[in-house]
Subunit: 142 residues, 2 copies
């Protein structure tokens, strides 16, 4: 499998580490990604992660917009100013920093959610809530 799919919830240990699900690690390994780029989602209280190549994509995206628009401005602020590089330890765990905790509300457990070309870290309850709400909206539409 070559994309990030499904979701899983893992526990944060006493040292503040959490295991990235092995399915996600497999995707990263296949893409030969050793360092992760992390940023804050534009819509939800979640932190997104992917290989550094997403930076290129974001920059193209911003470049294609009106450089003076509020949207492009905000996006650049988040991408460039709010992005962080992270790496996994030998066991495939990452350190849950305050950067992540503050924005997501994560305390002791993390829900990893696949998003196709990247994955996200959520506070478990917030993820449940958002997902069921999104489902309801879709149901209402169809």
């Amino acid at each position: 499998m070559n994309r990030f799919l499904s979701n899983a919830t893992n526990r944060i240990d006493a040292k503040g580490r959490v295991s990235v699900p092995s399915t996600f690690r497999a995707v990263l390994a296949q893409a030969a990604v050793s360092e992760l780029y992390a940023w804050q989602d534009f819509v939800f209280p979640a932190v997104s992660m992917a290989g550094p190549e997403v930076l290129d994509r974001f920059e193209r995206m911003i470049g294609s917009q009106d450089p003076f628009s509020a949207e492009a401005n905000k996006m650049s602020l988040l991408i460039h100013g709010g992005g962080v590089f992270m790496k996994l330890d030998g066991e495939g765990r990452l350190l849950v920093t305050d950067f992540i905790r503050d924005f997501t509300g994560i305390t002791d457990r993390v829900t990893f959610a696949g998003r196709g070309d990247h994955f996200q870290l959520w506070e478990p309850a917030a993820f449940e809530e958002m997902q069921s709400r999104a489902r309801k909206e879709r149901t209402a539409i169809s």
Copy 2:
């Protein structure tokens, strides 16, 4: 036969596994599907399964939107974050995870229902109920 038809109810064993009906497995085998994409139905309390090509279809749907819009984000949350890849064991069984149980209410038995290009997992009583209701409604109309 190249589509999923009819329904059958199988028992979940002590390890939480359930056999996929052989007629369905035959359809999968013919389509050379080894990994199943599963998602939660948008209307009923049932989990749907099919080959990975439905995921492509969903993704095209998302791709036709502004990739940074809240709408596309929400849809990806359901499709990617709410979808799971599952594979069958050597005997053609699948593991009934909490992902399935929580959404369907399944406990010890599963009703498999063919839906043409995919099939669904139902809690047996819920399936009965839904079917008889659908039948009544049709009768009332004609």
